[in-house]
């Protein structure tokens, strides 16, 4: 009985909307909910994080040349809009601007993934596994910081 309830709960977790409907207003709120509530979007964000070499500076979240992303410290705020602007406009001392290099959808997917690294999005949406070896637990097992 319980397992059936769990199964039903997982039904829409990873519903894949390959063609996302246009947001109804210009505010970023719909973007945030669209991507942060969909496991596929967050998983795509995790893919872009490697593909576009975020790992080059931020490593797999622990930081290196760039600041760590899996802790509770945020230089420019942890709100989705701030992270989006960090990615698109860049920040002083090294963070490059990705505007024009990635699409807005890809940027919002990255935002959702970056927030999942410190447990800021729902556990049932955050990625549950790594593609390679990793020294840290997967994003869905991290405590909110």
């Amino acid at each position: 009985m319980f397992s059936l309830a769990f199964l039903l709960g997982g039904c829409e977790r990873e519903q894949r909307q390959f063609k996302l409907p246009a947001p109804e207003s210009a505010s970023p709120a719909p973007e945030r909910t669209r991507h942060e509530e969909n496991a596929h979007s967050v998983a795509q964000g995790k893919l872009w994080f490697r593909w576009f070499n975020c790992v080059g500076c931020h490593s797999l979240g622990g930081g290196g040349m760039g600041p760590a992303l899996m802790d509770e410290n945020w230089r420019y705020g942890r709100e989705p809009q701030s992270i989006y602007e960090t990615i698109m406009n860049g920040r002083p001392n090294g963070m490059p601007s990705f505007r024009g290099r990635i699409t807005e959808d890809q940027a919002w997917q990255l935002v959702a993934y970056v927030r999942s690294m410190s447990g800021l999005i729902a556990q049932d949406v955050a990625p549950g596994r790594h593609d390679g070896l990793s020294a840290v637990p997967p994003e869905n097992l991290r405590d909110k910081r």
């Binding site: 894949r16 063609k19 699409t103 890809q106």
Partner: protein, 310 residues
């Protein structure tokens, strides 16, 4: 677009596999017919109530004997075929690395001289009559390389390297397909093998080794600039330009390829425009993002530039 058919063989290995298939089929057909006849006889005898225990023992014993002999024969035939498949002279083999990705094939021609290596996608040209050694790897999930006219299946497993040596003896185009379910677009992960006479192959390879031609006119120049400075270059490479992404198919000689999206649609300007602006309408789930935000003339310029990459 040719269909796949493992019975229209084009190489020595596919020929042996087809032979084994026919042997197995013939034996199974005879056994199936014999079982049907025996069942019919038993039913007919049983109806009259004349069956005796002694006859049944004999029938079971002979059936077990015949089955054992036939199964042993099939094992021997299978092992013999396996051995024959491995015995191919690969001393002067052409070496190609094939990397499976969701959902396309990265094709990297190897050469001891690095300047002679080149990369293409989803289409493999090979010389007729010369062995080809394929090194198979996977980037994300398990795929399987299967060109039925040339050889059997071989899995591509992430973190492992497999090799498959094959030879085409007849010139022609042979379709292949990913044969291990790898996600939502597994069915649209095709590849094409072009078996060409040796000289034609050399000419093709020489052409592929060249960097992309420079843009010839205004729209092509605009397309080139958009490609290099925009989102395209984040994943795609065009040799001879600063675009050097390694996550998506190499587009250096894109216009010489016959399909878009690993055999999904024919490579023509209309399909290309649709693919760039909304790839998920054609192949839902691909990692290529939609570019609906491009202006009309920008899209036309990109299509013109990519169309010039012969």
């Amino acid at each position: 677009m040719r269909v796949q058919n493992m019975f229209s063989v084009a190489g020595p290995q596919a020929e042996r596999i087809a032979e084994l298939w026919w042997i197995t089929f013939a034996i199974c057909l005879v056994v199936f017919a014999a079982v049907l006849v025996a069942t019919g006889l038993a039913l007919w005898k049983g109806r009259k109530g004349t069956g005796s225990g002694h006859g049944a023992h004999l029938a079971v014993a002979s059936a077990v004997g015949v089955s054992t002999v036939l199964l042993l024969f099939l094992i021997v035939a299978s092992v013999a075929t396996d051995r024959a498949l491995a015995q191919i002279d690969a001393s002067d083999a052409l070496k190609i690395e094939v990397v499976g990705n969701r959902w396309w094939w990265d094709i990297r021609y190897q050469d001891p001289d690095p300047s002679r290596r080149f990369t293409t996608a989803n289409e493999i040209a090979i010389p007729v009559g010369r062995a080809v050694e394929l090194t198979l790897r996977a980037n994300d999930v398990i795929h399987s390389f299967w060109v039925p006219a040339l050889h059997g299946k071989k899995d591509l497993i992430p973190g492992r390297t497999a090799t498959l040596t094959l030879r085409a003896d007849k010139p022609g185009t042979y379709r292949g397909q990913c044969a291990e379910f790898c996600g939502v677009q597994h069915a649209k992960m095709a590849l094409f093998v072009y078996a060409l006479p040796a000289q034609e192959y050399e000419a093709w390879a020489e052409q592929q080794r060249r960097p992309a031609p420079p843009p010839a006119d205004g729209p092509q120049q605009l397309g080139h600039d958009l490609f290099v400075k925009g989102t395209c270059a984040m994943c795609h490479a065009i040799q001879g330009t600063p675009a050097n992404g390694r996550r998506a198919p190499d587009l250096t000689h894109f216009a010489s390829r016959k399909t878009i999206g690993a055999g999904t649609v024919p490579n023509d300007p209309q399909q290309l425009a649709v693919w760039i602006s909304d790839p998920h309408a054609v192949k839902p789930g691909v990692n290529m993002p939609a570019h609906a935000f491009l202006k009309r003339e920008e899209l036309a310029a990109l299509v013109a530039y990519l169309g010039s990459l012969k």
